[in-house]
Symmetry: C2
Subunit: 259 residues, 2 copies
């Protein structure tokens, strides 16, 4: 099995190294990851500067550091760097959770998503602790899951988003299949004034996990010290509202659908 | 009606100006947009440097240029710059189409998406021509649509993605409610060698609209010279595969869901 491994914390991040150490026991692992931290890049890609891929002496010499985003890394790996297609694309282990609406901002999820878009099975994995994360259980979990992925009926156009509590195996209460929950960020910006009297704004924000997070959500699952596994789809069409939109445009244009 | 207007081509882009000229006839329009082109930024947000918002003498002095992404612009506008909440967030008019999988990469869609995430009705609008786009019909279409948006039953957690052909009103054949189609990019990178003998890679890519784009897709709609209106959902959970994933994990752990 050939695994393409990326992340958004950068190629020298601990989470990547811990995961690589486990995966290399069971598969050929090629690392193509950003040369520096690229968190919160969403699904950005680099079009205004050319990309560079530097081969580095880490990970058994099967590693490139790229001056781009996680999506760039996966695109470049598949199109230019790898000899053969990967069997699986993995992004992580991310430092900090990627729950609910976080997935839109997450570079880690974006790396996996690019794998899905290119037609490969893909998994994003995060540990839900930022300050002093313990990646060991998440890495061991992945090493047990990965050989079974070909048997999982995940379906095309779907990636798997996994969040793992920063706990020991004994403390973790199991695995749950979840839907995306609801999180809101409050106090999003801290406004400061520079020495020249001009305002600037630091993006920050405290997370509020809404009360409407019932037990089948990823947010609630993590609070219960369980591993959360959420299937994420690439087709974002909201099929449910298509009919009401049709009626709306018919009314607006008196059935002509012309303005 | 108070409209927050952003884009990803930058605050001085023609598409934004043409749309503003139409919208200001029917609403109060506040422009908060990137200070330079920020295409293909996906849903990136800026956490490593502070944001600056410069008030500029354009758009009846109701305009800020921000050193961030479209998502940054909408977040900062709502949290720090605007006195009141907007009734509607609009991103565009983008230069070039945002169809199918493009929406993951698009800064324009991301601007609208941030509006949806923050709880406001939101529309992304693009003209499907890059080299010499005609924004006039798209702007006039928006000025007819916008006053009716409060009546449209779009639903929370859904944004509307509109693509308009670069044609005159006479040439456009109507409006269609669509689902996201399938597009693939081939020849994604052009590899070059710098004067010092090192390789670098320009992201490019020719688009291939797949044959599986039936008439209800946005891709097919544009080929028919019609305006495409696609509802996009924020909840990316793939509910259909949740059960098969549950079975998979049950089998994997012999019903214990523990590894």
């Amino acid at each position: 099995m050939k695994i393409l491994l990326t992340n958004d914390d950068g190629i020298r991040a601990d989470g990547l190294a811990v995961l690589w150490s486990e995966l290399k026991k069971i598969a050929e692992v090629i690392v193509v990851a950003p040369d520096r931290e690229r968190s919160a890049t969403g699904h950005g890609i680099t079009m205004d500067i050319p990309l560079r891929a530097e081969k580095i002496s880490l990970f058994d010499d099967k590693a490139w550091a790229v001056n781009g985003t996680p999506a760039d890394c996966v695109k470049l790996a598949v199109n230019c760097l790898l000899d053969d297609s990967p069997d699986l694309v993995i992004a992580g282990i991310n430092r900090g959770s990627n729950l609910g609406v976080d997935i839109f901002y997450s570079g880690t999820v974006s790396g996996a998503l690019e794998g899905t878009i290119l037609g490969f099975p893909a998994i994003a994995v995060s540990v839900t602790e930022y300050s002093d994360p313990d990646y060991r259980y998440a890495a061991s979990f992945m090493s047990k899951l990965v050989p079974k992925v070909p048997e999982a009926n995940i379906g095309k156009d779907t990636l798997v988003n996994i969040n793992v509590p920063s706990l020991t195996a004994e403390e973790i209460r199991g695995v749950k299949i979840t839907r995306l929950g609801s999180r809101k960020y409050i106090n999003s910006f801290e406004t400061r004034v520079d020495p020249r009297g001009k305002s600037y704004y630091w993006l920050g924000g405290d997370v509020v996990d809404n009360n409407d997070n019932r037990e089948d959500t990823d947010v609630a699952c993590i609070q219960e010290n369980m591993v959360s596994v959420t299937p994420i789809q690439v087709d974002l069409t909201n099929y449910r509202v298509m009919d009401s939109l049709k009626d709306f445009f018919d009314d607006l244009s008196e059935g002509q659908r012309r303005f």
